[in-house]
């Protein structure tokens, strides 16, 4: 059983072909600058990387190129399309309708269309990817795996915003969250590692990457998460602001005479660590500048870690305590400096980081001291594999 995972962004596409027998990645890659000149195609197989440049005008064309790479190239991953038994599509926003991964039919497509208003850049791209696969592989089932689905268990008093209720009813304004696939995987995995029933654990899952979110998992379900109506909310990220006093939004719009769309762009692309430091949206670039005496780099990291630690405190309230805190995503897995600074705020809650163990990166590893009341773990996430697994489960039901 081989599953192709497709993740279409507005001008990019990532793909990964996985053999579910042994969960091995057969080939993976991405296509950047779709719809522009000189699109870049990167294909990886057997530890080799092949890069090409050509004009790719649409997601359909991009997916045809992917199929060529997989089958007809000098380095084929499979002999024919028939070996692909299902395609799993990452979908950023499923609105309130989708509470789990779903086999795609016309009605599901309609549901993804209905959620475009919450993810105007992502959902249309996902739909193009789905339509293209339906044309190229007409007999293969497509499955949508939603970033929001895992968070549909959040109780109403945690997802409703303190704004006029009619905006929830009329426009669907509420917290939806994101990274659900990752938080679900990590929370189940840590229960396995600790050899406990997930229902007996209070877990705070920190997914810290370019996008970043924190999730409180109790009784095996998501009970709150930091991202909100869109992936802009919550903790600060590489280039996103996270939650703000909303008067900051209107004040800047008035001062700089910006439209809502321009303001959205600033909050999504020029804020967060990049905004404060003025250096980059990559934690590593910012950390490198701190020993050189760059005060804004230092400030950016302090704000980042402080606000994350505060969110962890908030979710201890949500669950009336916490048993284990997990770190995943690029920064969570490979950022000992950030982990150390975050945990330094949490001693009062019984969090004790072992500084030697904390030097480990990029593997499943316990970071807490033996007598730490709250356990700390790195649990690397592998979103493509999780999407493939969910896809596999659903079509074999």
């Amino acid at each position: 059983m081989k599953v192709l995972v497709v993740n279409c962004g507005s001008s990019s596409l990532k793909y990964c072909l996985i053999d579910m027998e042994n969960e091995k990645v057969l080939a993976k890659g991405n296509i950047e600058r779709i719809g522009q000149y000189n699109s870049i195609i990167t294909h990886k197989i057997n530890g080799e990387k092949y890069k090409k440049e050509r004009n790719v005008y649409s997601h359909e064309e991009a997916l045809k190129i992917v199929m060529e790479e997989l089958v007809n190239s000098d380095y084929p991953a499979i002999k024919s399309f028939n070996e692909i038994e299902a395609v799993g599509h990452r979908v950023v926003h499923g609105g309130e309708r989708f509470k789990q991964a779903t086999i795609i039919d016309e009605d599901v497509i309609k549901g993804i269309e209905d959620a475009i208003r919450y993810a105007p850049l992502h959902n249309p791209a996902h739909l193009q990817g789905i339509r293209a696969i339906q044309k190229i592989l007409p007999d293969v089932p497509n499955v949508a795996v939603f970033d929001t689905a895992f968070h549909q268990t959040i109780p109403k008093e945690h997802y409703i915003y303190p704004i006029p209720y009619e905006y929830y009813e009329k426009y669907g304004v509420r917290k939806y969250g994101a990274h659900g696939t990752s938080h679900k995987y990590v929370s189940h995995r840590i229960a396995e590692i600790l050899n406990k029933d997930i229902k007996d654990l209070k877990i705070i899952s920190c997914h810290l990457g370019q996008g970043a979110s924190i999730c409180a998992i109790q009784n095996g379900i998501s009970v709150d998460t930091s991202m909100g109506l869109t992936p802009l909310g919550g903790i600060p990220m590489g280039s996103r602001s996270g939650d703000l006093d909303p008067s900051v939004v209107t004040y800047i719009m008035e001062q700089e005479n910006l439209t809502p769309r321009e303001m959205d762009r600033i909050l999504n692309k020029k804020s967060g660590l990049h905004g404060i430091s003025g250096i980059s949206n990559d934690n590593r670039d910012i950390l490198r500048e701190i020993p050189n005496g760059n005060e804004r780099a230092d400030l950016a990291m302090k704000v980042y870690c402080y606000l994350i630690a505060q969110y962890i405190g908030k979710y201890a309230v949500t669950m009336n305590g916490v048993d284990v805190i997990t770190f995943t995503g690029g920064v969570g897995e490979k950022g000992p400096d950030e982990r150390k600074m975050i945990c330094s705020y949490l001693n009062f809650m019984g969090v004790e980081l072992d500084e030697e163990k904390n030097k480990v990166t990029n593997m499943e590893y316990e970071l807490s001291k033996d007598d730490s009341r709250v356990k700390l773990w790195i649990v690397p996430t592998e979103e493509e594999l999780i999407i493939a697994k969910e896809t596999n489960e659903i079509i074999n039901k």
């Binding site: 704004i163 909303p246 705020y345």
Partner: protein, 170 residues
């Protein structure tokens, strides 16, 4: 509170902190300008916005007692978010010795005080339910075993302003 008194915890009619995309999304959907959305977030949000009942906690608690679900939802959201903010300042301070309640709701709305404190039990906070029912006076409302002391201390802003004024002109 942040740049302006709109930020932070939800209030009687103000939203407190939000995912900022909520602001731009509403502006786009309802076709509002910045002044209109600011007014909406300052005057029609908070517990009033959720409950649709009133900006007065007494009215909302009354409606909740009569079974109004949105009134109960508003009180739940309020207590939850206030308690979360208290925990985020426990992170800031590396622990808490004492929590004080003041101003209209803090001094008088003992149901909301209890709800907030109930969210903080894991921190070793225990409230004395009988003492908590006393309104508007300086009093310790935590139980003797509570790891965190909880006081009601009525505020007197006019007196502070008068004292500061006097000191400066002396």
């Amino acid at each position: 509170m942040g740049l302006t008194p709109l930020g932070g915890i939800p209030m009687c009619a103000r939203s407190g902190d939000l995912d900022p995309s909520v602001v731009t999304y509403i502006m786009n959907q309802a076709n509002l300008n910045t002044e209109e959305v600011e007014k909406l977030l300052n005057k029609q949000s908070g517990v009033f916005g959720i409950s649709g009942v009133s900006a007065d906690f007494r009215d909302i608690e009354g409606a909740s007692a009569e079974g109004n679900e949105r009134a109960s939802l508003a009180l739940d959201v309020y207590a939850y978010r206030v308690a979360q903010f208290i925990a985020s300042y426990a992170v800031t301070l590396q622990g808490i010795d004492v929590i004080t309640f003041t101003a209209g709701v803090g001094e008088n709305q003992f149901h909301s005080r209890k709800k907030i404190c109930d969210n903080l039990k894991f921190m070793g906070l225990e409230i004395d339910e009988e003492k908590n029912k006393i309104r508007g006076e300086e009093i310790l409302i935590s139980s003797p075993n509570s790891k965190i002391k909880v006081y009601v201390i009525p505020t007197d802003e006019e007196m502070m302003i008068a004292k500061d004024t006097l000191e400066l002109i002396k």
